[in-house]
Symmetry: C2
Subunit: 403 residues, 2 copies
């Protein structure tokens, strides 16, 4: 293939924000600043929208202090979008790219964003426009194919784990049933992460339900009742995308109006309806008085000051790698390969074709879900534990011998 | 008065847990271990319940490692209770105290807990039982009288501030209306703390509603519409205890069944109903498409690993002080006096009568609420800012000049 052109680059951030999507942006900026082929680095405001509206900022002008702040800032500092470009939209993107001599396009996002990039890249090839298009993975759902895990997941997993650690201690202090609804439309990784802070045998969450394993309300209630009878309390982690045995999400069944975005995704977060429904069922049918339910909502992806250090470092490195790959090949998606685990956790990076990632979804593997479909396995903990960084240790005195 | 008896002590934790209630417990243990008058230090499991059921653990046996863990563990490590002792309940407490030669009683809790202590103390005096009864303040609501602020508030305020910082950046990335419902049945301190992380003029929350200032749905919607028109987005912080102009809480108006505890408090947390109601109103009546609402729930008081360092230190010191006061006087409640602010923030401790704290509630002072009743003043920020410890700094690039 032809050598890398000397031209301008555009970088954008798309889809739902994460705690480390800005670390990936910093990685792109750092590497682009070192790279003679990349003249200007334009940050597109609000993803593809910023390209067609020509709302760019000059990222090479950011100083070290600004980059240091950017690494630790949650959410997408360039703004985001859920627009899904069609052919006409892509034509407008090319017009802008041509006029501004943009030959490098870096897009940080999930599988919908990889698909946007895939479409733009395909159209560029159709019209013979020399564009180098690279996807940098990010998603708290951890549901991209090929890569071992996704930047953004580790920090969200840390949030969920710390939340459950505290919530379980709260539930020990004032016992009852506590239900926590966690993000995850199709993939149960984040809900599974609720177990990562467990230290004692009887620590919660005692039950974990993921979208990959349909469960009936009756079965759910029987599980809760069994734990409550055994322990006098019960902490439950439930994915927002949990399905009934007929495959229909509980959220859909209990919600009259469903809001969908341009990608056809139903809005599950930002509402407490599922949590309230489950709590009401437990109260009414099991006759348990103290039942509480929280929906973690947007805090999971954007809480300030709670990044996983390993997640930050990997997100940043994914950004750097994308720029390096762009000097060597025409397009691709940055992926992470795990080459050591546990105390010797280590990764390396590689490039996979956009088609391998675009619009595809990875589920929580069957071996990470227990036989009964109401918990996760030691294999999952082994997989996810290195990604959150160290979690706080706690103590509870209620089990100490009485005098 | 008589000199301090040489006898056993009981300590309990009551009411809703906080992130630093265990730090107060550690303070009591540390000081009691230094104190020749206190023989055994019994930790009562689940507050007053643990006394009448004689479920005590020996706190003097805890090692340094356990105390270090205890300081950083959220929630009440001894367990809690919401029992409100009546005369008969108190008689049973005395029987246990007599049999075990307990002459010191330390109780860590809010105004309901102070009242419990007040009742027990009054009965002890009636029957001529020599008991030294001390209340150690704790509440995320920050609603106790006399004390400048309450241990537990600073850490909860830090959680809320960090949550809003991230949430506001998330709302910049994907603009719309975001409503966050924050704990606070009667007092608006914690909801007001949502502003503490604001760095830029247009940072959210843009609107803050506290229980102290009734507001109609119409007024609320007009405020949201005005901000949305000006900024293209709007982040709102609302107390769970917000009232309509007739003085009835919105939560009560929209909830058919109200669960109350032994103290007559309505359950406001652990349900997303208020948030969902407000979001539905904004969607339906303002015609804004992207509207999200989160209810922070129990995470605010028990999240693991997010303590305010100053809150930890003060909570611990309140525990120590209670033991010191118990050697000098018969009863009281530990209180904090601020003797310096801002960069020179400093406090000292004093003892006030139980009657000054028991069952009384402090509201957010009028000078901390803005004229319109939809925001807080610089005075509040000055008051609350030292209590959270340092908050993370962030950057957003969407306001940078375009090229």
């Amino acid at each position: 293939m032809a050598s890398a052109p000397k031209a301008n680059a555009v970088v954008g951030q798309s889809g739902g924000p994460t705690a480390v999507i800005n670390a990936s942006l910093v990685g792109v900026i750092e590497e682009a600043c070192k790279c003679a082929q990349i003249d200007g680095l334009h940050g597109s405001l609000h993803a593809v929208e910023g390209i067609v509206k020509e709302r760019f900022i000059d990222l090479k002008r950011l100083g070290k202090g600004e980059l240091d702040l950017l690494v630790q800032s949650p959410s997408s500092a360039l703004g985001s979008s859920r627009d899904k470009p069609d052919k006409d939209y892509c034509q407008r993107i090319f017009e802008v790219f041509r006029r501004r001599n943009v030959r490098y396009f870096f897009y940080i996002g999930g599988n919908d964003s990889a698909n946007t990039l895939y479409i733009i890249n395909a159209m560029a090839q159709q019209v013979g426009y020399d564009l180098r298009a690279f996807h940098i993975p990010k998603t708290i759902d951890n549901d991209l194919l090929v890569t071992d895990h996704c930047p953004g997941f580790g920090s969200a997993a840390k949030f969920v784990a710390c939340a459950l650690m505290g919530d379980d201690l709260d539930n020990r202090a004032l016992p009852g049933v506590k239900i926590d609804v966690i993000m995850g439309r199709h993939a149960g990784f984040l809900t599974a992460a609720s177990v990562l802070g467990k230290q004692r045998d009887d620590d919660g969450p005692h039950l974990v339900y993921v979208p990959e394993r349909p469960v009936s309300v009756d079965r759910f209630l029987a599980d809760v009742e069994a734990v409550y009878k055994a322990l006098g309390r019960c902490v439950v982690a439930v994915s927002e995308g949990i399905c009934d045995t007929d495959g229909v999400t509980w959220a859909k069944k209990i919600t009259q109006t469903s809001e969908t975005d341009a990608h056809g995704n139903i809005q599950l977060s930002g509402t407490g309806a599922l949590a309230d429904y489950l709590a009401a069922q437990v109260k009414a049918r099991l006759g348990i008085k103290r039942v509480r339910a929280d929906t973690f909502g947007y805090l999971q992806r954007s809480f300030a000051g709670l990044q996983s250090p390993v997640d930050v470092q990997e997100a940043r490195e994914c950004g750097r790698q994308a720029v390096r790959y762009a000097l060597e090949r025409q397009s691709g998606s940055v992926a992470i390969k795990r080459i050591g685990n546990g105390d010797r956790y280590a990764v390396e990076y590689f490039c996979t074709d956009l088609a391998n990632v675009a619009e595809k979804t990875k589920s929580l593997p069957a071996e990470y879900i227990n036989q009964q479909g109401n918990g996760v396995t030691a294999g999952f903990v082994e997989y996810a534990r290195p990604l959150t960084g160290p979690l706080p240790k706690t103590i509870y005195l209620g089990n100490y011998p009485t005098i």
